[in-house]
């Protein structure tokens, strides 16, 4: 019974908000926004934390600088007071006689290395000045390099002026402190702005990263969902009956694996369909062959008897008639014999029994075949070589039918080679084991089979041999298919055709059987 199923697949028009692509992008945006928000919040916390610490450090630095500033003021005041005291002391020790003043001033100058110059203007208008001979030619800068004190001498004896040398490094260090304080001020002024700027930069960078991630996610989601959509379209086409449709996805990820699995499933389905169709065709041909054999076989015997009676009843009076009759009878009998042979092959084809599989050793099958049909190589010009497997393999098969299939293959090879007048006909049978199957390979050095005809030769009554009935290979394929196997043709290294029979191994997990037509 032929069952045809047609699924009506509704057109899948998913609204944009329901698409996988939209959902993935929305999830990415949501996650990205959360991440950016959390990142910015943490950055702001970090900046605020370090800003507090920096603020404390700046406050400490400012306090320190202000302390130094006060210390510097005190130092200057003390130094000024000391200079003034030293000048007053000097004034008190000056001799009264004017001519004794200069040696006294010079002695003071020598005794005080930080004194650069001493000058006394007497009441009589006489000026006595002594200078440090080691003083530089460059004039000292008041307030920076030098400090000048001036007092009136006791007893209205005149004025005394002393110039003390200052260490310029003190002022330089103090000015550097001022620079540092300004830097601290700038840092304090810009703290809030810097905090905002760091947050802004981090936010902008995070948003850029988010946009990049969204774009990448969009591309990935689009690519993935497109492939899923493409697979979905292929499924729809298959559902509508277009069994040749295949997914073109070639990626290595899960979607690619799904597509490949789906394609493989379709291939398997197509192969199974082909097997079923083939077996149905073979079944139909078998029915027809059975009927033809029956219809032809029945009148053959009366025809032959009638012809023999004609020959027996010949009175022999006319030699010319007798000769013509004998020739005619011979022709009719030849044709009857031909028809008998054809009927026999039809009957053989029609009577291919149902496979009754049983566990059997492949070596045993090949040994029995070689023992029973080794005569096929008796031909002086022919060689049949059977190489059993090195490690025996158990298969589930009908031993007799499998041997019959091998006989048909070898006969086909030998006859084809003979028709092409080849010398040194060679047929080899060997096996190769796979994980869950075993291949029986039949090689010959015959004319080979064109690639275009390799499928057709298994069709019943399809032959290129003058003497062939076109049923041998059809029987072989039926037997193989009944064993849930496969058969195909390749080029043989011997120069002819190679028939490969792939049969499932015993207890093979993937073994399946297609029986009957």
């Amino acid at each position: 019974m032929k069952v045809t199923s047609r699924f009506v697949v509704p057109k899948m028009r998913v609204p944009w908000w329901g698409r996988l692509e939209t959902r993935i992008i929305a999830a990415l945006v949501l996650l990205g926004t959360l991440c950016v928000g959390a990142s910015v919040y943490l950055v702001r916390l970090s900046v605020a934390y370090f800003d507090t610490r920096v603020g404390d450090a700046l406050d400490s630095a400012r306090e320190l600088a202000e302390g130094i500033e006060a210390f510097h003021d005190g130092l200057v005041s003390a130094q000024v007071a000391a200079f003034e005291a030293r000048t007053a002391a000097l004034a008190a020790t000056l001799p009264g006689a004017t001519e004794d003043v200069e040696p006294s001033l010079r002695a003071q100058l020598t005794a005080s290395p930080d004194v650069a110059e001493i000058e006394m203007l007497g009441a009589d208008g006489v000026l006595v000045r002594v200078r440090d001979p080691n003083s530089a030619e460059v004039p000292l800068e008041a307030g920076v390099d030098a400090f000048e004190t001036q007092i009136a001498l006791p007893g209205e004896r005149g004025q005394l002026r002393v110039v003390y040398r200052l260490d310029p490094e003190i002022d330089a260090r103090y000015q550097r402190l001022g620079d540092q304080l300004r830097e601290i001020g700038r840092e304090e002024d810009s703290r809030a702005d810097v905090e905002d700027a760091v947050t802004l930069v981090t936010t902008v960078a995070s948003v850029l990263v988010l946009l990049g991630s969204m774009f990448a996610g969009f591309v990935v989601a689009r690519t993935t969902t497109r492939r899923v959509s493409e697979l979905s379209r292929v499924m729809t086409r298959v559902g509508q009956g277009e069994l040749t449709a295949r997914s073109q996805t070639s990626s290595e990820d899960e979607v690619g694996q799904l597509a490949r699995a789906f394609n493989h499933m379709l291939d398997e389905l197509a192969a199974a369909q082909q097997k079923v169709a083939y077996l149905q065709r073979i079944g139909a041909w078998q029915g027809m062959a059975r009927r033809i054999a029956h219809e032809i076989k029945n009148p053959l015997t009366p025809i032959q008897l009638a012809v023999q009676q004609l020959r027996d009843k010949d009175p022999g009076g006319d030699p010319r008639f007798s000769k013509m009759l004998a020739t005619s009878v011979e022709i009719v009998e030849d044709e009857i014999e031909g028809l008998r042979r054809m009927v026999a092959s039809f009957s053989q084809f029609a009577k291919v029994p149902e496979v009754r599989p049983a566990p059997v050793s492949l070596s045993r099958v090949l040994e029995e075949f070689e023992r029973a049909y080794g005569h096929l190589s008796d031909d002086e010009t022919g060689t049949l070589e059977v190489r059993p497997p090195k490690h025996d393999v158990e298969i589930e098969a009908d031993r007799q039918l499998l041997k019959q299939a091998l006989v048909n293959l070898v006969e086909n090879a030998v006859l084809s080679a003979r028709e092409h007048r080849r010398d040194g006909i060679r047929v080899e049978i060997h096996t190769s084991s796979l994980a869950d199957a075993v291949d029986i390979v039949v090689d010959d050095n015959g004319p080979g089979i064109d690639e275009a005809r390799r499928e057709r030769v298994f069709e019943p009554y399809e032959t290129t041999r003058a003497e062939g009935t076109g049923l041998g290979l059809a029987i072989v394929k039926k037997v193989v298919l009944d064993h849930a196997g496969e058969i195909w043709i390749e080029d043989s290294p011997l120069g002819g055709a190679r028939f490969v029979l792939r049969l499932p191994r015993l207890k093979a997990p993937t073994s399946r059987r297609i029986t009957g037509a």
């Binding site: 003021d73 005041s77 103090y174 620079d179 300004r182 001020g185 810009s190 702005d193 700027a197 930069v201």
Partner: protein, 215 residues
């Protein structure tokens, strides 16, 4: 929205941050006095905005004894020409000297530092922010002309209070540390924070035109 409009809208949108960060120094006009003394052209210009008498922080800085540095970049231009005729940098320091107990204004000229002292802070500030008869060019460097025909000259003065030396800045310190990413990030943050100011106070002025009378 057409494609053209959309492109311009997007371009404007993209340029907005750049426009926002662009900071130019507004150049205002300020009247100066020019005179020819012997063989030099001299200018007198006062820029009181540089140290405002109401700027408590600036005044406190002066009183603290730390020198407040004023830097004047004087550039002389010929009207209608893009090439400068002359350029001069004048540095002035003002501060309280605890030894002298006076305000000191030091000006760095071509012959070295020149020092003036003041008892009044206001007078010291006024002296510091005034470029008093400074030589801006040699007479021979200018072309003499007439009031009607010119050529005319003018000066631009970029004055800065306590200019930030690049070597002492945070950017320079980061650069010395050698972390390029940190330098880049610092530039970005400072640009956004507006921290890349060149000085505590910047005054940029352009003077009136003058011409050198024919003799």
């Amino acid at each position: 929205m057409t494609r053209w409009r959309r492109r311009h809208f997007l371009a404007t949108l993209a340029a907005l941050p750049g426009l926002g960060f662009a900071r130019g120094d507004p150049v205002s006009r300020r009247k100066a006095k020019f005179g020819e003394i012997a063989s030099s052209v001299q200018m007198t210009l006062s820029l009181p905005r540089l140290i405002r008498l109401t700027d408590a922080e600036a005044l406190a800085s002066i009183d603290s004894g730390f020198d407040t540095t004023l830097e004047f970049h004087v550039t002389l231009w010929e009207h209608g020409s893009r090439e400068q005729v002359g350029h001069r940098v004048i540095v002035v320091k003002i501060g309280w000297n605890p030894f002298l107990k006076r305000y000191v204004v030091k000006t760095k000229g071509s012959t070295g530092w020149m020092q003036r002292t003041f008892t009044s802070r206001t007078a010291a500030i006024e002296a510091a922010v005034t470029l008093d008869r400074i030589r801006i060019a040699a007479s021979d460097d200018l072309t003499r002309g007439t009031f009607e025909d010119g050529p005319y000259y003018f000066a631009t003065v970029l004055a800065m209070r306590n200019p930030i030396k690049e070597d002492d800045s945070a950017s320079a310190r980061r650069r010395r540390r050698g972390d390029r990413d940190l330098v880049w990030f610092g530039h970005l943050v400072e640009t956004l924070a507006g921290e890349r100011a060149r000085a505590e106070e910047v005054v940029h002025v352009r003077t009136n035109y003058f011409y050198l009378e024919a003799r």
